[in-house]
Symmetry: C2
């Protein structure tokens, strides 16, 4: 990149960090813990969220769904009685703080709880932008292969935990779990890796115990 | 985006289009047909390329591998005797024409053939940037779910064909093929959809017949 472009990117990051810190403080003051949910397209982010929310009774969930287009996931969540709103980026590949700031008035946020923000399905750009979260979690799958930490390191570096989804398909794929774990640990030794299945519910009790300990 | 930012993006696209047209003309003059291979992380892009290249005897293949980091895929291709070079974007989420221009001198390009460019694993940004290709193909998977055309329309709009990979896992997932097909056809009625399995080789003969007819 040229020097001019680098300066523009630095300005964008700095402005975004400032907005994000404001959101985080606002949410903290309301007793709301915010989780930025990252993952590639089709990783099963919404299904994982539903599994998590169902296992956290007594904790009020709020969801902001980020998608390039469509409100498929928001309708799915609202149909389950989960308060959710949709951001459509119309092409943009990640969410930024200002978009979350604009959506917060559309949620009741009437009780303490957890705000889940499902970011755009993309293992690259979303990891670069804070959006007011207290932590990021990353959802990967056994079907996407064990080399992802080596190819997309930033998302793994920034995640507080990694959910390895689609465990129900493990018998049918060649997934080298030791190689995956080694890759994650080299980037982020403190992040737990939870083997889960959005389809069967396997592993989500452990995820929820871990989330409750972080609140 | 602010007007200033829109202008910057328009300048970037215009400059990239110009470079890409130059690359395409250069490759055409050498009898080389260029295919820009798009797909989400873990869609099986490299495995599909190997399946295609193995079924096109007599056509010289060249590969440029795009990755944020690592040269896992390039080593895999070179080990199979396929002439391949690596671009590492070190964070950038897509390839641009100038990167391809810089890599071409590193390939022999001594005979007519096909240049496959495996773009960064990302269903969003790569679709926005030409890189000198004669056509794009998009690789999706049955494990990523049937809603992808609705959520990531641009990649589907721009692809000359869609490969629906991991067909071997169809018995184990809930994949609504009619919904997927409907979504693709609404965006891109002319694009064929090939059901393939990088693991078993299913479907690639049909893909290769179609590619040969395009050359």
């Amino acid at each position: 990149m040229e020097t001019k472009d680098v300066q523009i990117m630095e300005d964008i990051y700095a402005e975004n960090d400032q907005v994000s810190e404001g959101i985080q403080q606002d949410l903290s003051a309301r007793g709301i813990y915010a989780i930025n949910v990252l993952g590639a397209p089709g990783a099963g982010k919404t299904t994982c969220l539903i599994n998590i929310i169902n296992r956290l009774p007594g904790i009020t969930p709020y969801v902001i769904e980020g998608d390039i287009q469509s409100d498929i996931d928001t309708r799915r969540l609202n149909d389950l009685g989960i308060e959710s709103v949709q951001i459509n980026t119309n092409g943009a590949c990640h969410l930024e703080g200002v978009q979350i700031q604009n959506m917060l008035p559309k949620l009741s946020l009437s009780k303490p709880g957890i705000l889940f923000v499902e970011n755009i399905g993309n293992l690259v750009c979303p990891a670069e932008f804070m959006i007011g979260e207290h932590m990021k979690i990353l959802i990967c799958t056994v079907t996407d292969g064990a080399d992802k930490p080596y190819k997309y390191p930033l998302a793994f570096e920034k995640a507080a935990a990694v959910l390895l989804n689609k465990a129900d398909l493990l018998p049918y794929v060649d997934f080298d779990r030791a190689y995956f774990t080694k890759g994650v640990q080299a980037l982020n030794p403190d992040a737990p890796i939870f083997l889960v299945s959005g389809k069967t519910g396997e592993g989500f009790n452990e995820v929820c115990e871990w989330i409750k300990a972080r609140l």
